[in-house]
Symmetry: C2
Subunit: 417 residues, 2 copies
């Protein structure tokens, strides 16, 4: 893993040097010019600098009222009638179609429901079946968020394939006519590294294998382009940049061209062609519905649907532009405020390789993060030594970024005294 | 399937005959003596006779306020801190321990999360693995709710076993040293027939196979006795008699003695021995936690936790006694109010074979149910010709029962004119 030492510029953390004053002024100017600044008011926020939206997105202001209506009126008054009258039954595909434009998908290819882990299982077993009998190997991102690897191991075991972990950059060399499926993360959860989805997807396709992308750390933060790049299957969570709430349901994308052959290992009654026919023989529904399993979790699903309203009128390109500006500015401020040599930047500096977070390697990172949080700057700690800061362009501003770096500088300055 | 014609007693539906007046008086007396009558105020109800709690339980009055606090304070204000500070992380096992006494399980054997279908998959693949290599057959209830059969088919396919549907009564004869696992419903979703869990479980065990019980239509309505009867694995939903809300998460029971060997086909990061170690190799957690998969759905989970508060101080024996009294009284009232020959009772008359619902076969059942609902009596229709009425002892009274039968009598009386 490449590591980039931060700027060697010495800085008196938090002191009122001309350099710091200049950064404060820059932050103000950047905030004033921010075309997404108005979106912040659509979230419930306080004076905390919340840089953990890549773990749990902030609460959209529309959610509490909507959920109260779902509970009190739709469940409490209409009860069972709401499955039809309140549109509960069709929420998985309706909510999927709200996510679709954020990941570059035409309608009718995404259903929402179940956890990311469960969707990875559906996608990977489905991918192996799509690839056919002759291919006996599943490749998985060696630096993946662990659940992907665990579930891939189970999918391999149950389908009689071999699981082979490889670094994403080494995937093209590892592909062969033995490769059935390849599971990759678009953005690495720890370092924030952005992998090259277009070229990797093309390589997987050229090898005759099936691509499965995990979008947990990219959807809602940068362009994905599922349709444009010919991705076969994709999964993602909705509680990070999509702000769906704690443990909100994940989603599964199956591209149109594969839907008729998609053969789910979890053929629950919700994916039946005629679910209320209560027929003993399974017959899969047409389209993306085939990715449904059991009764959808309505409270969380409708909270997510309401949360997705904040994207109305927002382009992912605008989000990406601000995201890069935020992470650039954070790196610059860290260079200015943090004592030299105290952190190494794990996140790539090249825009083409950067997601929407910055990961800093730092001695005693757990304690450092505790102190940051105590001072109102919330990021998170990933073992053994990583400080992780996520930048959610819909509600994080440049002033937040400068303050976070300044507080980090102070905390590390104190620790070194 | 046995069918019992209802009483031939002619009745002028809804007319003020002495027989009807006597039933009205009986209903009043039964309600006055009902030790569970006080529980009704813990639910949000109106003057509808709600006999569909076996599909979606009514809203417990404590839920809206609790969920509002979860959303506005725990998510909105504490955000990521709530995973620790608000106890989100441990909610699956904590909520499981609230369900445990309702199904006769000691603590530490149930985790809540995922849908019923997904839990059936975990349980059945886990059961096949527990049974060992030599056993190549899975038995499944031939009249099961369809999803159980569909998922069992997938589990059989992925583990290389053969799926064999059998009627529950025929299970003892079908068991052999080839049997790996047996998936049964304690109560049939359509007819309301209660199967003999103790003797069937003992037969499965005697054959050296692993038992898996689906408790969707029994938990919260009658004693289950998982521990007492030596059940191996069980699953159930929480939105029927447990009133968790639409699509609230299901649960998985793995008895203590099997937990160390339970080998889940969905080994997500939440079931890892050290989930935040983010280690590439999977190592399962000890205990029931091994049944967890991905990030739990917190909004629905905590709504369920609040909903389970209505059980405080309630014994399942009291619920069962009232349930039988309600279904007995309903059958008596149907006999009195419904024109002779218009319905056949599909639900067994013997208490030992009856769950907490009454299923009536009836010509034009779909239209009949629409008319019942229009007059404030809510049950449901199951194709092709079944009227289904569920009796939830915590909030249905004997007056409701009499009114439902009287309205049914009127609707059927009109239809026959």
């Amino acid at each position: 893993m490449s590591e980039t030492p931060v700027s060697e510029t010495p800085a008196s953390a938090g002191s009122e040097t001309p350099a710091c004053a200049a950064l404060t002024a820059r932050a103000r100017a950047l905030d004033a010019a921010d075309v997404l600044a108005g979106r912040r008011k659509e979230f419930v926020l306080d004076d905390t600098v919340y840089l953990d939206g890549n773990s749990l997105g902030a609460l959209p202001a529309a959610v509490p009222g909507r959920l109260d209506d779902v509970v009190r009126r739709e469940w409490g008054e209409l009860r069972i009638r709401s499955w039809d009258e309140s549109g509960w039954w069709t929420a998985p595909e309706r909510t999927g179609d709200l996510i679709a434009p954020l990941v570059g998908a035409a309608a009718g290819q995404i259903v929402v429901g179940d956890s990311t882990s469960v969707n990875i299982f559906k996608a990977l077993v489905g991918a192996v079946r799509l690839a056919g009998e002759g291919r006996d190997e599943i490749l998985v991102d060696a630096s993946t968020f662990p659940t992907d690897g665990y579930i891939a191991g189970s999918a391999a075991r149950l389908t009689g394939r071999t699981l082979r972990p490889v670094e994403p950059a080494d995937v093209p060399a590892a592909l062969s006519d033995r490769t059935a499926a390849v599971l990759l993360n678009q953005v690495d959860y720890r370092t924030g590294r952005l992998h090259d989805l277009p070229s990797l997807t093309a390589a997987v396709r050229a090898a005759g294998a099936v691509s499965v992308w995990d979008l947990c750390h990219s959807a809602g933060a940068l362009p994905v382009g599922l349709d444009a790049h010919g991705v076969d299957l994709a999964v993602g969570c909705t509680y990070k940049y999509l702000n769906g709430g704690p443990g909100s349901p994940a989603y599964l994308y199956v591209r149109h061209g594969l839907q008729d052959r998609f053969d789910s290992p979890l053929p629950g009654w919700n994916s039946h062609a005629e679910p209320f026919g209560m027929r003993p023989a399974y017959e899969p529904a047409a389209g993306a519905l085939r990715g449904r399993v059991g009764t959808p979790d309505i409270l969380s699903m409708l909270a997510l649907e309401a949360a997705l309203g904040v994207w109305e009128g927002v382009t992912v390109d605008a989000v990406r532009a601000k995201s890069l500006a935020l992470t650039d500015f954070f790196l610059e401020c860290v260079g200015a405020y943090v004592p030299a040599g105290r952190v190494d930047v794990l996140t790539p500096l090249a825009h083409a390789e950067r997601g929407s977070q910055v990961a800093l390697r730092c001695a005693d990172a757990g304690e450092v993060m505790r102190r940051l949080i105590a001072r109102g700057v919330v990021g998170d700690f990933r073992r053994p030594d990583v400080l992780r800061f996520g930048f959610t362009p819909l509600y994080v501003g440049f002033g937040d970024v400068e303050r976070a770096a300044a507080v980090l500088g102070k905390v590390l300055g104190e620790a070194s005294e």
